[in-house]
């Protein structure tokens, strides 16, 4: 069968009958008929969330940062480095890994919208780091040199890379066994779907767990009225990540419950043990990360034990949401319930103008007009 990618496949198709992935490539970006309307709702929500880091005033953070003790500077900067890594991956990988294989228009556009919002996060980190240190390059350069960060990068990117490599071979040559750089590689659709499922589960882990250690530290600083500009930006990022997590949970649950490609049900079962280990391994890595953060001292309100309990707690919740057995069934209590007030988007300021005028509206059109309304104008 022909599997070559085309940016505009000219074979007419019925997008209502295509699976989410590995059907015919999307041709017309149409949303009049939708197989899974949830993805358009996610797109609309994400667009309504639009924000820019420059809108947030972070000028006080510089003074706050200078006054922090060294071990707290380490906690703050290390988390920013780690988040920079996560969003570097997320700003490009869904596009590169998933767009060549997606086969319904609303999901294709969700992937693009999702990935774009991650680029806003990356730009935020530069905005924050530029403000607090004199040489941002020192911070960014360390991301690929710091052993503790690199270990995580490997675990996150490997699932994307495995899927991308197999897709490239499949789309160039189709199913078969090929010699690539001296090793024999077998490529078939079943194996590709398996790699896709594992890749999506790894993304789910990233959005569900990996961000939250940094979030907790940022909000713990802000609880002490320190680095509050940073916390405002992190809240906007957390709001986006909660939506992305919902998107990924939907994709995984549509697959494993047989509401999309029927073959994915068996694949989800085949992958179950590996998905369980993926979550568990990520939780252990995040605990190790918490230990690295607090190696020279804890901060008020947080230490490595509390963070470890929190990691187990959210891992427990998130595994249940995608139908997996919990790796930490005893972790049923949130050790830092105050974090929810920060993660809550109820009190996220959505437009910078709101500080002055609470009734400021963006993009509003009044249709209630009469010709009299223009009577004061003279031509």
């Amino acid at each position: 069968m022909s599997s070559t990618y085309s940016t505009f496949c000219q074979t007419p198709n019925n997008q209502m009958a295509e699976p989410m992935f590995f059907g015919q490539n999307v041709n017309v970006a149409r949303y009049d008929q939708q197989k899974h309307p949830i993805f358009e709702k996610l797109i609309e929500k994400q667009l309504s969330f639009f924000w820019r880091p420059e809108e947030v005033d972070i000028s006080q953070d510089r003074a706050d940062y200078q006054a922090l003790p060294e071990h707290e500077k380490h906690i703050f900067i290390s988390n920013l480095k780690y988040q920079s890594l996560l969003d570097s991956i997320q700003g490009r990988s869904p596009n590169i890994a998933l767009l060549p294989i997606v086969s319904i228009p609303e999901l294709e556009t969700w992937i693009e919208t999702w990935s774009f919002s991650e680029t806003l996060h990356s730009r935020s980190y530069t905005h924050i780091i530029r403000n607090i240190v004199n040489e941002p390059a020192v911070v960014f350069d360390d991301i690929v040199r710091n052993q503790h960060i690199i270990e995580r990068a490997q675990e996150i990117s490997v699932y994307y890379d495995d899927l991308i490599h197999a897709t490239q071979i499949y789309q160039m040559f189709g199913e078969g066994v090929y010699e690539v750089n001296g090793t024999s590689v077998a490529v078939n659709l079943h194996m590709l779907k398996k790699r896709l499922y594992l890749c999506l589960m790894s993304v789910n882990v990233l959005e569900a767990i990996r961000f939250y250690v940094s979030f907790a530290c940022s909000f713990a600083f802000a609880e002490r009225e320190l680095m509050e500009g940073n916390a405002k930006i992190i809240r906007l990022i957390a709001r986006d990540e909660a939506l992305h997590l919902t998107g990924t949970q939907h994709i995984l649950n549509l697959m494993r419950t047989g509401q999309d490609d029927p073959e994915m049900v068996a694949i989800a079962q085949e992958c179950e043990a590996e998905c369980f280990e993926l979550f568990k391994r990520a939780a252990e890595q995040e605990k190790a990360w918490a230990e690295y953060l607090f190696k020279d001292g804890s901060m008020i309100g947080l230490n490595k034990d509390i963070l470890a309990q929190y990691i187990e707690y959210i891992t427990h919740l998130r595994m249940g949401a995608v139908g997996l057995k919990s790796a930490f069934p005893h972790a049923t209590h949130n050790p830092i319930p105050w974090i929810n007030a920060w993660l809550s988007s109820d009190n996220v300021q959505v437009a910078p103008q709101e500080v002055e005028v609470s009734s400021y509206l963006v993009g509003q059109i009044s249709t209630d007009m009469s010709t009299q309304d223009l009577s004061a104008f003279e031509l």
Binding site: R239, A242, T246, H333, S345
Partner: protein, 104 residues
Amino acid sequence: MTMIFTADGVFELNADETLLEGLERTGHEIEYQCRSGYCGACRVKIWVGSVDYPEPPLAFTAADEILPCCCRVRESIKIDCHKAITIDRIQNDLFAPDLLQDLD
């Protein structure tokens, strides 16, 4: 009257509050984040009864799960939610009421 049964008790849901607010008011341990149906943090299992939604929420829910932040409760229901463990409750557990009564 809409009664909410949980794993740890029962309460009446006020007309002007969401189920999430009712659970918080009565000291239940309930996770939350967006409070508007897109994050799924508050999802709980429903054991008896059913709820509906003014608008279908964005977050994923399994067939036996509901979102207390945005659902509409029209009948008495029973859900899988526990009371938070507070200092008061720990102390009450340690000192049974009749233990102190005997001292009077």
